[in-house]
C-alpha cells in the first residue's frame, strides 16, 4: 500500500516536472521566436533605410598606392639583394673552386716530383752498390802478395 502511494507520488511529481519543463520549453521557444522576429524586423528596417538612401558617386581612388609602392619596392630590393647575393656567392665559389683545383695540381706535381726523386735516389743507391761490389771484386782479384822479383824492395819498405 505504502509502495503504491510512493509510486503515485512519484508519477505526480514526474508529471509536474514534465509540465514545468514543457512550459519552460514553450517559453524558450516563444522567446526565441520573438528574438528572431526582432532580428528580422531590424534587418528589414536597416535595409529599407539603406535602400532608399541617396548614394553619392565617388571617383574610384587607387587603393593604398603608397602601400603598394612600398611592397613593390621591398620586393624589388629583395630580388636585387638575392640576385646580387647569388652573383657574389657564385664569384667567390668560382675563386674557391679554381684555388682548390690549383692546389690539387700543385700537390699532384709535388707528389710526382717526390716520386721521381725517390726513384732517382733508389737508382743512385743501386749504382753505388754495384760500384762497391765491382771494386770489391777487383780488389779480390788483384794479388795481394808482391811478385818474387819485388821481394827485396818489399822487405826494405817493411823495415
Amino acid at each position: 500500500m505504502n509502495f503504491m502511494k510512493n509510486k503515485t507520488t512519484q508519477r505526480t511529481e514526474a508529471a509536474a516536472q514534465a509540465n514545468f519543463e514543457g512550459q519552460d520549453f514553450d517559453a524558450q521557444e516563444r522567446e526565441l521566436a520573438e528574438v528572431l522576429g526582432a532580428f528580422r524586423q531590424s534587418v528589414h528596417a536597416w535595409s529599407d533605410a539603406e535602400f532608399n538612401r541617396e548614394r553619392k558617386l565617388v571617383p574610384a581612388r587607387r587603393p593604398l598606392f603608397g602601400f603598394r609602392l612600398a611592397v613593390a619596392s621591398s620586393l624589388l630590393m629583395i630580388a636585387a639583394g638575392v640576385t646580387g647575393g647569388i652573383t657574389v656567392y657564385q664569384h667567390y665559389h668560382d675563386i674557391a673552386v679554381t684555388q682548390a683545383r690549383q692546389d690539387a695540381e700543385k700537390k699532384r706535381l709535388a707528389d710526382e716530383k717526390a716520386r721521381i726523386d725517390k726513384m732517382n735516389q733508389d737508382q743512385m743507391a743501386g749504382h753505388r752498390e754495384n760500384d762497391d761490389a765491382l771494386l770489391a771484386d777487383i780488389d779480390s782479384d788483384i794479388a795481394q802478395e808482391s811478385p818474387a822479383a819485388m821481394e827485396p824492395l818489399a822487405s826494405l819498405m817493411a823495415r
Partner: protein, 184 residues
C-alpha cells in the same frame, strides 16, 4: 520575321525590367544582411541584376525568378570573398558595420525605451551568432529567418538538397539557442 524577333526582345526586356524592379529590394536586403556593408550590398545587387540581364534568355522559368536571382547573388558574393582573399593587399574600400551598429536598426512601434534596449541587445546577440556561423549556415539562416523562404526554396537557391539545408539550419539554430540559453 525580323520584326517578330525585335518584338520578342522588347517583351523579354520588359519582363526582365519587371522582375528586376520587383526583387531588387529583397536582393539588396539579403546581400546587406550577408555582408553588413551597404555599399558592397549595392554593388553586388547591381552585379547580380547585370548578370541576370545578360543571361535572361537562358532563364527557363523552372524555378521562380527570385530563386534564380538569389542564386546568382550568392555566387557573386562567394566570388567576391574569394577574390578578396586572393587580393589581401588591396585596401578595403568599404567596411561592414559592427554587430552593435547593425542592431541599432529597430522599428519604433511606440515601445518603451527599456523594451527597445532589450530588443537591441537581443538583435546584437543574434548578429554575433550569425557572424560566427559558417558561410553556408549563415546563408541558410538568413534566407529562412530574414527572407522567410521555404526550405524547398532555400534548397533551390543554394543548390543544396533539402536535407542538407535542414541540417545547416538546425546547426545554426542550435547556436542561436545556445547563445540565448547561456544568457538566461
Amino acid at each position: 520575321m525580323r520584326d517578330d524577333a525585335r518584338q520578342n526582345a522588347a517583351v523579354a526586356e520588359q519582363e526582365y525590367a519587371a522582375v528586376a524592379a520587383a526583387h531588387r529590394a529583397q536582393l539588396f536586403r539579403f546581400l546587406l544582411s550577408s555582408t553588413r556593408d551597404a555599399d558592397l550590398a549595392e554593388t553586388l545587387t547591381q552585379d547580380t541584376l547585370l548578370k541576370a540581364y545578360q543571361n535572361w534568355g537562358s532563364f527557363r522559368g523552372e524555378s521562380s525568378a527570385l530563386t534564380w536571382l538569389m542564386r546568382i547573388a550568392i555566387n557573386l558574393q562567394k566570388d567576391h570573398w574569394r577574390n578578396r582573399r586572393m587580393q589581401f593587399w588591396k585596401q578595403t574600400q568599404t567596411q561592414g558595420v559592427s554587430v552593435e551598429e547593425a542592431a541599432e536598426w529597430l522599428p519604433g512601434g511606440g515601445s518603451s525605451p527599456e523594451t527597445q534596449l532589450l530588443a537591441k541587445e537581443r538583435v546584437a546577440q543574434v548578429w554575433k551568432v550569425v557572424e560566427k556561423l559558417s558561410e553556408r549556415q549563415r546563408t541558410v539562416f538568413l534566407l529562412r529567418h530574414v527572407e522567410e523562404l521555404e526550405l524547398s526554396e532555400i534548397a533551390k537557391t543554394t543548390g543544396l538538397n533539402e536535407g542538407t539545408v535542414k541540417a545547416h539550419l538546425s546547426r545554426a539554430m542550435a547556436k542561436v539557442k545556445a547563445e540565448f540559453g547561456g544568457r538566461q
